[in-house]
């Protein structure tokens, strides 16, 4: 008798403990309330703080910074340690950075619109320009990015745009318009891929219709949806990550692609990239310092070190991304076929994607409707 009672009571106790935990977790956070923008005020930082007492934790995409960076930083900046954590996507980084309590992260690499969101949540330390003299290396254009004019809370690391990546030998006509991919010609039937990451799924349709990528108007999003639904039967697949492989294999002939992901330097030399005439976006991956960081002097020193032309040019030379650093780009040898030679002024024709806050659910809904439909 007592045995059965014992086993019945235990789950109840654990459930109660779980509920207590859930309630505790709830009580712990109130900062993410939907009140809106409330950026944090700047801390007092000491320019000559002893960095050897500071340890840095960075979160970044895999392969996005030199493998030797921790070693280099420890030697040059004399910080105690530099630890690297990886995130696969912006959304995963956001999950880490916005979770209740101290994330333990000092410096994060996220795209511009996510930096904007983090800042509006009051999670970022304003950039102290006096601690980052290498900001002078940036192109003037890189200090006027629409999500953060004047680099108040973010420092750009790489930038680029979205366009059509295509097989020069398999297309009957060179693509020039988003319509070439939205309404594929018979020779491209079922040989076209699109990205599903929500804002980029809508981008070609919004641009083809002459709307802003940052629209939150329901009728404009509805028209974009109609266009995307009409396109769906003519697609090979939606693909956010392996569209380059599909092009190289000849499975597809055109793909919506980020410039850095389009394999234009493939040795066969049969892959081209074009920004359609209707325009596109400008995406920027940035570095931000978390308000919760206890190592803010070292964090600034790290960003300053990365903006060093020799360090920063690594990204352009090794991962084929344009860097917004004039002095760094001047050092890079541009390989044949590479898109690295595109001028910043041309890049800035693109419209920077900004965070839409609550309206971003409209794009989630669009993405679900198009892929499930």
């Amino acid at each position: 008798m007592s045995r059965t009672r014992f086993t019945r009571r235990l789950p109840v106790a654990v459930t109660a403990a779980g509920l207590a935990l859930a309630v505790a977790a709830c009580g712990g956070e109130s900062s993410t309330s939907s009140a809106g923008a409330n950026p944090a005020a700047a801390d007092e930082l000491k320019p000559n703080a002893d960095l050897s007492k500071q340890t840095l934790q960075v979160t970044v995409w895999d392969g996005y910074i030199p493998k030797e960076l921790p070693q280099m930083v420890k030697e040059k900046l004399k910080v105690q340690d530099l630890k690297i954590a990886l995130h696969e996507t912006n959304e995963i980084a956001m999950t880490k950075l916005t979770a209740p309590g101290d994330s333990g992260i000092d410096v994060a690499f996220v795209s511009g619109q996510y930096a904007q969101a983090l800042n509006e949540m009051g999670l970022l330390e304003p950039i102290h320009p006096e601690l980052i003299p290498n900001l002078a290396n940036l192109y003037p254009e890189a200090t006027q990015l629409s999500y953060d004019k004047g680099n108040k809370y973010s420092v750009p690391y790489t930038w680029g745009t979205t366009g059509i990546c295509y097989r020069t030998d398999l297309v009957k006509a060179k693509p020039t318009s988003w319509n070439d991919i939205l309404k594929p010609a018979p020779w491209a039937e079922k040989k076209v891929t699109m990205m599903t990451t929500e804002r980029w799924l809508a981008l070609p349709a919004l641009k083809a219709l002459g709307y802003s990528v940052n629209t939150d108007k329901d009728d404009e999003i509805a028209k974009a949806k109609d266009l995307l639904m009409a396109q769906k039967p003519h697609l090979l697949t939606y693909d956010d990550t392996t569209f380059g492989d599909k092009l190289v294999a000849g499975e597809s002939v055109m793909a919506e692609a980020w410039d850095g992901w389009c394999p234009t330097t493939d040795p066969k030399g049969n892959i081209g990239f074009v920004v359609p005439k209707e325009g596109s976006d400008l995406w920027v991956d940035t570095m931000v310092i978390m308000k919760s960081s206890k190592n803010k002097e070292a964090a600034h020193a790290l960003i300053n070190y990365i903006l060093d032309p020799e360090v920063h040019s690594w990204a352009a030379a090794n991962i084929n991304y344009k860097v917004p650093n004039k002095a760094a780009m001047e050092r890079v040898k541009i390989p044949k076929g590479s898109l690295l030679g595109v001028k910043p002024a041309d890049l800035l024709d693109g419209e920077a994607i900004i965070d839409l806050g609550q309206a971003s659910t409209k794009f989630s809904r669009l993405s679900e409707e198009v892929t499930a439909g």
């Binding site: 309330s33 959304e91 971003s360």
Partner: protein, 279 residues
């Protein structure tokens, strides 16, 4: 008296690591998921702790019901095909000589030794436009066919991945069957088919149910295969849940969807347990 108490203590000592593990690592997250489903999405993601039942209302949105329906359709089709292929396979293995039984069983489990993603990639290589299957058909003057990036490819991938989970419980059920029952049936004049229908099949129903559940459950919630072989052109409930957490930053709704999935599976498990006891 003291002996029984000692035995009880022993049971407690041996059970407690497993019980603690299960209770803490299953029940607590489940309670957290349940709690999250009653709150709201923050402007930039995260969870706003204001009570709402709106997420449960969204479950009956035709869009999500459609996704749920598609998932059930694909998972049921996969399960039926697995049963159709798995039953004869298990039956034949059970009748092999002992030595060959082991070989056959190892062969069934062998694919599990290779990474799941790599095996799915292999299917892409087989089925895509310039792939092996279409090249072979071309030699015969056929095709090319669209074999990849559609619902058919999803079913092929799921079937390939989870067929062993159907064969193994069926094998166990058929193997356990007393051969004398079949002999008796034959002696009494039943044809082979009648023996199968009236003796073998009813006695292996628990194996059929277990195998079907083992195939249905992971097929129903799968999101990798629809993405890789289906080309994300149709989404299943697993993709929907994954997207709420990793793309849409809507944890509360993702939690609600996860709960709905768990509820469906619990109903199925209870039904299976009930049917197995009756059988």
């Amino acid at each position: 008296m003291s002996r029984s108490r000692g035995r009880r203590l022993g049971a407690f000592v041996f059970l407690s690591p497993g019980l603690t593990y299960l209770l803490v690592l299953m029940l607590v997250p489940l309670v957290l998921v349940l709690g999250t489903s009653f709150f709201q999405r923050g402007r930039f993601g995260g969870v706003v702790y204001e009570f709402t039942t709106e997420n449960f209302g969204r479950l009956v949105d035709p869009l999500y019901l459609g996704v749920l329906g598609d998932s059930v359709r694909i998972a049921v089709l996969t399960t039926l095909l697995a049963l159709l292929i798995g039953y004869p396979t298990a039956y034949l293995i059970a009748r092999l000589p002992r030595k060959w039984k082991t070989v056959a069983l190892v062969a069934i489990v062998l694919p599990f030794w290779t990474n799941f993603i790599i095996r799915i990639y292999a299917w892409i290589m087989l089925l895509n436009g310039p792939g092996l299957v279409n090249s072979g058909l071309k030699l015969l003057g056929l095709g090319p066919y669209e074999l990849l990036y559609n619902d058919g490819a999803i079913v092929v991938g799921l079937l390939y991945s989870y067929l062993p989970l159907m064969v193994l419980p069926l094998y166990a059920a058929i193997e356990r069957l007393d051969p004398q029952l079949r002999e008796a049936s034959a002696n009494l004049g039943a044809s082979a088919f009648t023996t199968f229908r009236k003796v073998t099949l009813p006695l292996t129903v628990p194996g059929v149910l277990t195998g079907s559940l083992f195939v249905f459950v992971p097929s129903f919630g799968n999101f990798v295969i629809p993405e890789m072989l289906g080309g994300s052109k149709s989404i299943m409930v697993g993709n929907l849940i994954r997207n709420q957490f990793l793309k849409a930053r809507d944890w509360p709704f993702g939690s609600t969807l996860a709960l709905a999935l768990i509820a469906v599976l619990v109903v199925l498990l209870v039904a299976q347990a009930w049917a197995a006891r009756r059988g």
